[in-house]
């Protein structure tokens, strides 16, 4: 067993974990943060995407011990003070989700994308989200949702940006 310490959605956690436990299983099964989903076992679908130290990662592709000392944001931590993040608003406004299963990962990936490129065009959004699969929407409204959020974020610079080293996930 290994002892790890990490901050998740602003709360510090200390746990004993098997070294082979994946970050996604740690978040879901140990911390009960079931908003992060598992959709595949080959890191293709992106449903498990979370923010780790300012970078989007696929949490099925990171061991919990690798996140030791790190800071994680999951979908549960995206809204601040009861106010939805512009991306959450965008997905709601533009019907960017149907079954909702890919949505948390999709939103987190989009968050990473907008941090590295705050004004993406349609092509950049589609490329930026190519690490996330959605079977319901055909992506049309997901693109609109990200555009919606980009516009909202540009309008209000008050968003407290996560560390600037963000990059789109693969």
């Amino acid at each position: 067993m290994a002892r790890i310490t990490l901050k998740v959605n602003g709360t510090q956690h200390e746990s004993e974990v098997e070294p082979r436990v994946l970050l996604v299983h740690y978040l879901r099964d140990v911390l009960g943060l079931t908003g992060t989903h598992v959709g595949c076992d080959t890191s293709q679908c992106g449903a498990c995407t979370v923010m780790l130290d300012g970078r989007t990662v696929k949490a099925c592709n990171v061991l919990a011990v690798q996140a030791d000392g790190g800071e994680v944001t999951t979908i549960e931590g995206l809204a601040r003070d009861g106010k939805l993040h512009p991306l959450q608003e965008g997905f709601w406004e533009e019907h960017g989700l149907q079954c909702g299963f890919c949505t948390p990962g999709m939103i987190l990936s989009a968050w990473g994308l907008l941090q590295s490129n705050p004004h993406p065009d349609e092509h950049a959004i589609r490329l930026g989200l190519e690490g996330n699969l959605c079977r319901c929407t055909g992506y049309h409204n997901i693109v609109k949702a990200v555009q919606h959020a980009a516009k909202k974020l540009a309008e209000s610079k008050s968003e407290t940006a996560a560390p600037a080293r963000a990059a789109g996930s693969r």
Binding site: E18, R20, V21, H25, R28, G32, L33, T34, G35, T36, H37, V38, G39, C40, D41, T42, Q44, C45, A47, T74, I75, E76, L78, A79, L84, Q88, F91, W92, E93, H95, L97, Q98, C99, G100, F101, C102, T103, P104, I107, E122, H123, I125, R126, L127, L129, E130, N132, L133, C134, R135, C136, T137, G138, Y139, H140, N141, I142, V143
Partner: protein, 792 residues
């Protein structure tokens, strides 16, 4: 004096934001794998690595000794423990059924079939111990291809199905069709492969069972599109559990696409294990398992002959299809390549003679069942691809060929040659509108210009019909369904005038919590926020047939409407009593019961609701309370239609296709929520386009699935798809009072042919007439090379 309430905005037809979304966008959805129970244990299945073998021995001792392991069971243990085979839900004459066990007892018939199950305290321990189960297989010969399976000398899959034929099925008039083809000026012949697909809902299947000795009740949380169907079949046929002691909950479900309709081996085993072990048991599929064990879809090979007169009018259509059913009969498998396929071969055209025959084969592959569209995409692809081949052979413009054959608007209800009666339709405007949107008039000259520069642009048309709102019970019963296909709804008005709807439909992305609320809000004149939609729980909902076949709006929505009518009638009679008026003098408007012509004299909906529960003053013949249950069994299917057009560019150097534009003009009847309708179409279009270009469940000769992961199977990504340009015409359905038709599968049904036709149009300069889907870069490139060689 009572003030007039402000008129509430009409909800039906409004693009209302979805009421279910707040939980999903904040990570608070509850999918089956998210449900936590104290003391839960985890199941892991040991699966066959070979496609056909006799099981000589299963040795479990080492696995049982592994730390954390509670138990290991084999197929023999389950059979001895009273677990029966999983039945099929649709029988056809002379159909050969299969004895499908939750865990194989002495023989395995496809790669991935379960041979043992390990239960342990953690998922990691369960999967570790599964490695320690030793299975001694005596390998047997394999056949994965349906045509080969039906051929002489093929390995036999089931002893009761000689020649691996599950059934032979026919529809239409053979003699009339043969005569029509004989008399035709030209007969277009084409052989079409409709490849096998894997549904790939992003949420893998999961089940969690918990048994309470105190109440003798078993509760099963399940990724299901139809929890009551699961309860009935698992309870009554497989496990022998009394229905009243067996509760199935389908909580949030992450997409279905047909793959979460059937009863699967894993949920049977998990339910049995929970009772046997006395601890909750959970199983969640790994994606690897989803590929091997979720039911697959399609897998047809068809020979098509379509006869035309000199004017390009279709005279007859003959189709001979071989359908691959996989190793066992899944729940609705027999219905898919028959009544949901052959009956749709009339398309949107006036075809005077049709005959279709289907040979359905067993093979050593994963069982096949419904996949988005289920039979109807196969029919649409067949007709629309053949129309384009015909246009090429007859040297007619593909739009003009379609125009000449469309069923006229004055022909409805339209009796087809393959049993169905189309409810309502007006097909030509969808074709003309779509042509205008894509700029067809100018496209051909643009295409010619591009060709001069070596660029391959192509445009493909698909005019489709679909049958949805699957019903009526009497008809499907006479065709072999072992169930009725009505839907139920209870509308419960609470004393405060708030409303709970218990619907037998199940939403796994369709947005019922929004659209059904819109129906209720309008009919009762109350705010949408006063309405709660409950679905997916046999413990709360009286009964339900579930969601598939684009039936929820047309059948489930109408059941709600019927209950609302009953409530309004009771409310009106109660209000009349309270107002000391005759019931016929009271009307309901804007959430108020009032005297006709005297709107000030009235009672609000909430006041009447309270009065119904106080029951201090009721009409003589009236019971207290305000609740109604209805079962709606429609008189017919509904028939959405439309025209989709794809524009593509093919890179002749690489064979790569780029989707440039996609235009869709659909008619799905009346629209409850246009935002949701568009969303359903988008997803459907993507799914069908993916069949045309990328997705293919490919087996090798030894029965190994070689596209068994997301690294190999082409689920499309955002950067591979275009935006969709959608418009609508509205032709209400006369089959239900809402006038709605259905939209969940329309996009998928239409788009495969549109995209495939576009690619082949782009390849026309090479003299290429047909290449089977999926039109992957490798296949397109090869076709170009072959054409060049032939041309030399």
């Amino acid at each position: 004096m009572a003030t007039q309430p402000a008129t509430l905005e009409r909800m039906i037809g409004k693009a209302l934001k979805r009421r279910e979304d707040p939980r999903f966008i904040t990570g608070r959805g509850t999918y089956t794998d998210d449900v936590k129970l104290p003391g839960v244990t985890y199941a892991f299945f040991v699966r066959s690595p070979v496609a056909h073998a006799r099981i000589r021995r299963v040795t479990t001792a080492r696995a049982k000794a592994h730390p954390g392991v509670r138990a290991v069971f084999t197929g023999r243990d389950l059979a001895d423990g009273g677990v029966n085979g999983i039945p099929t839900g649709w029988l056809l004459p002379n159909l050969k059924t299969t004895d499908r066990r939750a865990i194989a007892v002495d023989r395995v018939r496809y790669v991935g079939e379960a041979v043992a199950v390990v239960v342990a305290d953690t998922p990691y321990a369960a999967s570790d111990a599964a490695e320690l189960v030793e299975v001694d297989y005596e390998q047997l010969p394999v056949v994965a291809d349906a045509t080969r399976a039906l051929g002489k000398g093929a390995p036999q899959i089931h002893d009761n199905a000689p020649g691996n034929l599950c059934f032979h099925w026919e529809i239409g008039d053979r003699a009339k069709t043969e005569a029509a083809l004989k008399g035709a000026a030209r007969v277009v012949k084409v052989k079409l492969v409709n490849q096998r697909l894997i549904p790939t809902a992003i949420e893998p299947r999961a089940s969690l069972a918990s048994y309470s000795p105190a109440t003798d009740e078993l509760t099963l949380w399940l990724t299901s599109q139809n929890p009551h169907v699961h309860r009935l079949i698992m309870g009554a046929f497989v496990l022998g559990l009394p229905e009243q002691k067996f509760r199935v909950i389908a909580p949030d479900v992450g997409g279905g696409f047909g793959s979460k309709i059937p009863v699967y081996p894993e949920e049977v085993a998990v339910a049995w294990l929970a009772k046997k072990l006395g601890t909750p048991v959970k199983w969640t599929a790994e994606r690897r398992e989803s590929f091997l064990t979720d039911t697959h879809g399609r897998d047809h090979v068809s020979e098509v002959e379509m006869g035309f007169d000199t004017g390009g009018k279709v005279g007859g259509l003959r189709v001979k299809t071989v359908a691959n059913l996989g190793a066992y009969l899944s729940l609705f498998a027999p219905a898919i390549p028959t009544y949901l396929y052959g009956t749709l071969l009339n398309g949107v055209y006036d075809i005077p003679a049709i005959f279709c025959e289907v040979d359905a084969a067993f093979t050593h592959t994963t069982p096949v069942d419904a996949l988005r569209g289920a039979g109807r995409p196969e029919a649409c692809y067949l007709i629309e691809r053949t129309m384009d081949v015909a246009a090429h052979e007859l040297k007619l413009d593909p739009a003009e060929l379609r125009r000449r054959n469309l069923i006229g608007r004055d022909r409805f209800p339209f009796q087809t040659q393959v049993a169905l009666v189309y409810d309502s339709g007006n097909y030509a405007p969808t074709l003309e509108r779509a042509l205008k949107m894509i700029g067809y008039e100018h496209f051909r000259s643009q295409q010619a210009e591009a060709r001069k520069k070596g660029r391959c642009l192509g445009l493909g048309i698909s005019s489709y019909i679909e049958a949805c709102g699957i019903a009526p019970s009497q008809v499907v019963g006479s065709l072999g369904a072992q169930a009725g296909l009505y839907e139920s709804a209870t509308v419960r008005v609470h004393p405060t005038g708030k409303v709970t709807v218990l619907t037998g439909s199940h939403s796994h992305g369709q947005g019922h919590e929004t659209t059904f609320s819109q129906i209720v809000a309008d009919e009762l004149g109350i705010p949408v926020d006063d309405v709660e939609i409950v679905h997916g729980d046999t413990g709360r909902i009286p009964f339900g047939m579930g969601t598939y076949g684009s039936r929820s709006g047309a059948v489930g929505g109408t059941a709600i409407h019927m209950s609302l009518e009953k409530l309004k009638d009771k409310g009106r009679r109660l209000a009349a009593h309270l107002l000391e008026a005759a019931p016929e003098d009271v009307e309901m408007k804007n959430g108020r019961f009032s005297i006709k012509g005297a709107p000030d004299r009235g009672k609000s909906f909430a006041e009447v609701s309270l009065a119904a529960y106080l029951a201090h003053s009721m009409p003589k013949d009236m019971e207290p309370g305000l609740e109604a249950t209805s079962f709606f069994d429609p008189s017919n299917f509904t028939f959405p239609f439309g025209t989709h057009i794809a524009m593509v560019e093919v890179d002749p150097e690489t064979g790569q296709t780029t989707l440039l534009r996609y235009v869709a003009v659909d008619d799905v009847g009346n629209v409850i929520n246009p935002m949701i309708v568009d969303g359903q179409l988008h997803g459907g279009i993507a799914h069908g386009a993916a069949q045309a270009l990328w997705e293919w469940a490919s087996y090798d000769e030894s029965g190994q699935l070689v596209t068994g992961s997301l690294m190999d199977y082409g689920v499309p990504r955002a950067d591979q798809l275009p935006k969709y340009e959608t418009e609508r015409t509205v032709t209400p359905s006369p089959v239900n009072p809402l006038g709605v038709k259905g939209v969940g599968e329309a996009g998928t049904i239409a788009s495969t042919a549109a995209v495939a036709n576009a690619v082949l149009d782009a390849l026309a300069p090479y003299g290429i007439v047909h290449v089977d889907i999926p039109l992957t870069p490798a296949k397109v490139w090869q076709a170009i090379q072959d054409a060049k060689t032939k041309g030399r």
